[in-house]
Homo-oligomer: 158 residues x 2
């Protein structure tokens, strides 16, 4: 329980710092999301490099996605992705039924509007991890009922 | 090894973000250090609250310091402080012979000037942890040989 706490608390502080130092307004909110996403991207790049140092070569895209759902997710969030689905045409949906970075937020609907800023970093995390494995992607996230959430990965064919 | 990696990478990104968004210059460097220290303070406050939830009451100041050196340090850095000394008059020196947030830096002297920004967050961490246990302090850090470092805690009598 306390294992991932330093990361969680730091993540919260980063969100607060970015939002506090920036100007307010619609455009700025978008920019803050991008900042968080970029930060996640670089962390994801670094992490995947360390995690795959001694792993065998990946067979295919699905094999890579499974690695993200298991090893990568466990490293950051101390649990695996609960469900992975794909249309076999480059779209993957990763469902986490108890996403750690949302578990501090109350489940009320009034907090739903804050969800995007708690998800941006992790979208970047996945995109960065995949990018370092040679897979270019667009990653988005949505919350249906807190603290469950879905990450949608769209692979960009090169 | 990979266990504390997400925290480490995020910590590095935070330093880079803070230094990148701020203006350059002497004063600004001081301000960035303060920002990092404050961020650490709040993370320390949150962490200690979670860690001490089910612990027995502390006997005295030394007992608190031991908790910081063992449980608190292990939670964040996956190792204990290697050496704790005190003059029994409110000064404590915590030595970590292989401080994780410095272990990515090369040991050359030319990198010594960058050490303060890698230590500020952790100084705040200790100060925040102590503060939530009712101990007001000033925490500074110094590096003699990388990646070993010493944190000096001066208790402020109230």
């Amino acid at each position: 329980m306390a294992d991932e706490a330093p990361f969680q608390f730091l993540h919260n502080e980063v969100i607060q710092y970015i939002y506090k130092t920036a100007e307010s307004g619609e455009t700025e909110n978008g920019r803050n999301i991008t900042r968080l996403e970029n930060m996640g991207f670089r962390v994801g790049q670094g992490l995947i490099e360390r995690l795959t140092k001694d792993t065998a070569r990946f067979k295919d895209e699905l094999d890579i996605m499974k690695f993200i759902c298991k090893d990568f997710w466990t490293c950051v969030f101390k649990k695996q992705i609960d469900n992975l689905r794909t249309n076999h045409q480059g779209i993957y949906v990763l469902q986490d039924n108890k996403f750690r970075l949302l578990s501090q937020l109350s489940a009320g609907n009034q907090y739903m509007e804050h969800a995007p800023k708690y998800l941006a970093f992790s979208c970047g995390l996945v995109r960065g991890g995949l990018s370092n494995l040679g897979v270019k992607s667009i990653v988005t996230a949505e919350v249906s009922v807190m603290p469950a959430c879905k990450f949608q990965v769209m692979i960009q064919k090169m």
